[in-house]
Amino acid sequence: MTSQTFSTWGRWVPGRGQVPPDKLPSEFSQGQPLKAFMGWDGLFVHDTTVNLVDMARAYMEQARKESCGQCFPCRLGTEDMSAILENICAGKGAPADLDRLESLARLVTDTARCDIGQTAPRPLLDLLEHRREDFLNVIKSKTPVPAGHYVTKVTAPCTNACPSHLNIPDYVEKIRIGRWDQALSTIRNDCCLPGVIGRVCVRPCEFNCRRQRLDSGIAIRALKRYAADMELETGQEPSLQPGPAKDKKVAIIGAGPAGVSCAYYLGLKGYKSTIFEVMNEPGGMAAVGIPDYRLPREVLRGEANQVKKLGCEIRYGVNVGVDITLDDLNVQGYNAIFVGVGAPEASKMRCEGEDAGYQCFMTGVEFLRRVADGEQPIEGKKLLVIGGGNVAMDCVRSGLRLGFTDVNLIYRRTRAEMPADPVEITEALEEGVEFHYLVAPLKIIAENGKVTGLECQRMELGEPDASGRRRPVVVDGSNFIIECDAIVPAIGQICVVDCVLPPEEVEITKWKTMVADDITRRTNQPYIFSGGDCVTGPATLIAALAAGKNAARFIEQFLTSGQSAPEESDYMEKLIAQLGVFYFKEKMPYADSTKKLHPPVMEPEERIKSFDEVEGKVNSASATQEASRCLRCYRIAMAAV
C-alpha cells in the first residue's frame, strides 16, 4: 500500500485548485486526529494506516442508502458500485471490477439528478485515479478487509447554515409532492416552532441556497410557514407522543424559544419538565419583542403550548431568583436545570439624559413589551427611534400602527451596514418611515420633564471594525437637533443572568451571560445547562431553538450516565462547517431564470392601520412550484477517526 498523505480536496470551485493535506483540518476533536475524510469535493488523507478501499466501500454504502430512487443513474449506479466494493472488500474482487467501478462512477456523476449522485462517486474516482494499486492489492490478496470506524453525516449548504441543521431538502421535497404533513414532521425533528420560524426566521439557509448561483434562491422560510399554515387550516393537531416516562425531572428557567425547545425535546424522550416563566405567557422575547403584525401571538402560543402534551408544565409569573431560588429547585428534586433566560434588558446608549426618566422616553424593549400587552405606551405625532437592527424596525413600524404620523429612524452607519433583515427595512420604508443615516444621538432634550428633541451629530464611515463593518467616525461641529415628541432607543439588549442565579454558584461573564460549553451547553455545574441569548448575547430565534434542542440531548445524557460529553456527530458537524459546504463562487453548468416565491403582503397603507399580520398565506400551487426549484444539494461527509 502506498504510504503517503494526499488530498484531492478543493477542485469544485474554479480557480481554487486542490488544497494540500497540511492546509486541511487534521483534528477531529481535541486530541483526536482526523485520519482521513471523504466528501463532496474529493478526499484527503492524513494517516496512511487508513484502508482507503474499505473507506470507499463504507462511503458508497452510505450513498446507496441516501439514494432516493428517483433518477435512474443514482438509483442503479450506487447500488451496483456498492455491491462491487462490498465484494472487493470481502476478498472476492477481480481486476476488471475496477474498470466497471470507474465507468459506473462516471455515469453517475455525469448524469444524476441531484448532488447525492453527482458528488458521491467523486472520492471513488479520485482513488481509482491516484490509488488504484490499493484496490489491486486487496483484490490480489483475496482476503477480506476488516471494516474501519467511520463517522458519517449527510448535510447540504442550507442545512449546514441553519443553526439547528434542519433537513431542508427533505421537507422541501415533501412539500413538492404535496405531503405538507410529512414535511412538518421533518421540520419538527429539529425545530419545534415551525409556524413561528416560518414567519420570523432570519433564514441563514436562504443566504446559503445554491439555487442562487443558478437564478434565485428557494423561499425556504415561506415553505416552512406554508406547512405550518396547512396544519392550522385543516384543523389537524400535531401527533406528538411523549417517550416512555422517565423517573427524572428537569427544571427549565424561562419559557422563551430556548426553554420551550429544551422542554419539547426532553418530552419526546419521556422526561417531565417544569418551566418557570416570569411573564404570563410563553415565547419570551418572541412574544413581547416581535409585534403581532410579524408574528401573531396565537401562532406562537399554540405552538409553544404543544410542550404541555409532552409532559411539560409551565408555571407563569414565577421570578426565579426572587420567588424561587436555585436551592429551592434542588430541594424540589429537579435532577437537572436548563437556563434560558434570554437577554431581556435594553443596552444603554451612553447618551446624555437617558437615565433622567423623561416622559416619552422609553427603551425599545419596554416599548414593544407594552405594545404587546395592548397598551399605548407613549403618545405624540413625531417618533424618533435610534438603532438599525430588527428591534428598531419593530419599534418604528409599531409606532406607525400606534398613531404616530411622523416616524423617524436614526442610525449611525448607512443602510449597507444595518443589521436588520433587508425585508424589514424595505417594509418599514414602504410604510413611510423616514431613515436618517450617519446620525448618532448625543443628548436628549426635554422641557418640564418631557422629551422635545434629540441633539445629534453627523458621522462618516472610517476603517472597518472587528465586525467587518466600517466604523462610524464623528464629523466635528456637525451637531444638530431633531425635534420630536418621543424617543425610543433600540440599540441592543443585554443579559441579566446574575439576577436569576447566584454568581457564586454559576460562572457568569462580565456581560452577565452564562458560561456554557458551545456543544453540550453544560455550565460549570454538571447539572445546570444553558442556551440561547443568555449565553450568546442577543442572537437569533433559530439559534435559541437549536441550543434548547441540543441541551435536551446532553441533559438526557447527563441524566442517564451522570456525564455529558459531545458525540461524534457534534464534532462532525464542526468539521463540516470548517470545510464549508456552500461555494459562493461555484460556476453552474447552465443558467436558469426562475423567480423566488414572494408570499403575498398587505398594501403598506392598509397594514399600518392595525397590528394584523402583514404577510399572507402561500397557496398550495405556489408552494409546490417553489419546492420543485430545489436542487437537493445533499452532500455526504465521512471521517475516519
Binding site: F72, R75, L76, D80, L104, A112, S593
Partner: protein, 351 residues
C-alpha cells in the same frame, strides 16, 4: 433572437423552451423515457442527457432551459456511451423479456435498447421478484417490468389528480427493500381511469381486457369520438379483425389530450354485445319484428305527420341522449324545431 448551436447547426428557440423542446422544433430527436409533458414530469430517467459545452456534467435536455449561445451535442460519443450504459443497467435491474411481454412492439425501453444496439444483458443474478397486482378487473400491474420512471405517479396525481398512486420515492434506507419504491395503487382512491396505464412506457401496467387479444402490429388504430357524454373525448380504437381490442386516448388532440375516464377507456364491450340491436324493430301485434331503416323511418315519419295534423305540433316532443354527439344533438333539435314545428326538445345531459 435566441439561438444555440445544436449538433453544429445554428437554431433559434423561444425563451423558456427546454433544450428538448428547442431540438424537437427543429426536427432533432432526443430520446426520452420518463418525460410526460402533460404533468411536466421530467428529469428522472436521464436518457435525454446531452453534452453542453462548458458544463462539467451531462445535462438532461428535458429539464435544462435552452440558453443563448449554448453549444449542444445530442449524440456525441460520450452521450451515446452513457445512454448505453444506463440502458444496460435498466434492463438488468428488472425482468424484461419481450418474448413474454404484452407490450412487445409498443415499449419505449425496447425501442431504446434496439436503437442503441444493446445486446445480451442478463437480469441481475440477485434479482428479487417483485409483486404482480392483479386484484382489479381492469388493470394489471406487473412491477417486475416497472422501470420506476414515475410517469404513472405523475399521470395519476398531476394529470387526473386522483392521488391514487402515492409518491413512492424517498431515501432508500427509509424504504422497505424490493417493494419500497414501487408505484403501488391505492384502490380506495382509484377510479380506474387508466391514465396510469396509458402513461406507462413499458409493459408494467396493462389493460387486462386486452391481454392476449392482439400484438401491437396486428391492430389498426381508428380515431373516433367517445360516445358516452358530450365532452367529445378523442379515442383511438385498436382494432383487430373488426373487433375493438383496446381503447386509448388521442394524446395530441383536444378536448381530452389523451385523458379518458373509466367508461371511455374500458366500456367498449357494448360494440359487440350479442343483445345489441343492429336493425330497427317494429312492434306489431305485441311483438317486435326486424325491419329495414327505410321502412322504420317511413313509419315514424308517417305517424308523426298524422299526430301533428290531428293534434298540432305541441303534441310532439323530442328527447335526446348525451351519448349522441354534439352534431347529432344539433340535428335533433333542428328536426324538432323546423320539422315538428315545436320547441319541445330536451336532452338528458347525463349518462
Amino acid at each position: 433572437m435566441n439561438t444555440l448551436t445544436l449538433n453544429g447547426k445554428n437554431i433559434s428557440f423561444e425563451p423558456g423552451q427546454s433544450i428538448l423542446e428547442a431540438a424537437r422544433t427543429h426536427g432533432v430527436v432526443i430520446p426520452t423515457l420518463c418525460h410526460l409533458q402533460a404533468a411536466d414530469h421530467k428529469g428522472v430517467c436521464r436518457i435525454c442527457v446531452v453534452e453542453v459545452q462548458g458544463a462539467d456534467r451531462l445535462l438532461p435536455a428535458c429539464a435544462t432551459p435552452a440558453g443563448d449561445g449554448m453549444v449542444v451535442e445530442t449524440h456525441s460519443s460520450k452521450v451515446v456511451q452513457e445512454r448505453k450504459m444506463l440502458l444496460e443497467l435498466l434492463v438488468a435491474s428488472g425482468d424484461h423479456n419481450c418474448l413474454f411481454c404484452e407490450s412487445n412492439g409498443d415499449c419505449k425501453l425496447q425501442s431504446l435498447v434496439y436503437e442503441y444496439g444493446i445486446k445480451n444483458v442478463a437480469r441481475k443474478s440477485d434479482y428479487v421478484p417483485r409483486p404482480i397486482d392483479d386484484v382489479t378487473p381492469m388493470i394489471q400491474r406487473d412491477f417486475n417490468k416497472c422501470v420506476l420512471c414515475g410517469r404513472c405517479v405523475a399521470a395519476c396525481n398531476d394529470v387526473q389528480v386522483n392521488n391514487a398512486i402515492p409518491y413512492p420515492f424517498g431515501r432508500r434506507e427509509d424504504k422497505p427493500p424490493v417493494t419500497g419504491w414501487l408505484p403501488v395503487a391505492d384502490y380506495d382512491r382509484c377510479v380506474h381511469c387508466g391514465e396510469c396505464v396509458q402513461a406507462c412506457p413499458v409493459g408494467a401496467l396493462l389493460e387486462k381486457k386486452a391481454l392476449g387479444k392482439a400484438m401491437t402490429w396486428q391492430t389498426q388504430k381508428v380515431r373516433t369520438t367517445c360516445p358516452y357524454c358530450g365532452v367529445g373525448c378523442q379515442l383511438w380504437l385498436h382494432v383487430k379483425d373488426n373487433q375493438v381490442v383496446k381503447v386509448t386516448g388521442v394524446e395530441d388532440a383536444l378536448p381530452n389530450r389523451g385523458r379518458l375516464c373509466v367508461k371511455g377507456r374500458f366500456g367498449y364491450d357494448f360494440i359487440n354485445a350479442p343483445d345489441r340491436l343492429t336493425t330497427p324493430l317494429i312492434k306489431e301485434n305485441g311483438t317486435f319484428r326486424e325491419a329495414s331503416w327505410d321502412e322504420a323511418l317511413d313509419l315514424v315519419a308517417a305517424r308523426f305527420s298524422e299526430l301533428k295534423a290531428a293534434h298540432g305540433p305541441q303534441s310532439l316532443a323530442g328527447f335526446t341522449s348525451a351519448r349522441a354527439t354534439n352534431e347529432e344533438n344539433y340535428l335533433m333539435q333542428k328536426l324538432v324545431r323546423t320539422g315538428f314545428g315545436t320547441n319541445n326538445i330536451d336532452h338528458c345531459a347525463r349518462l
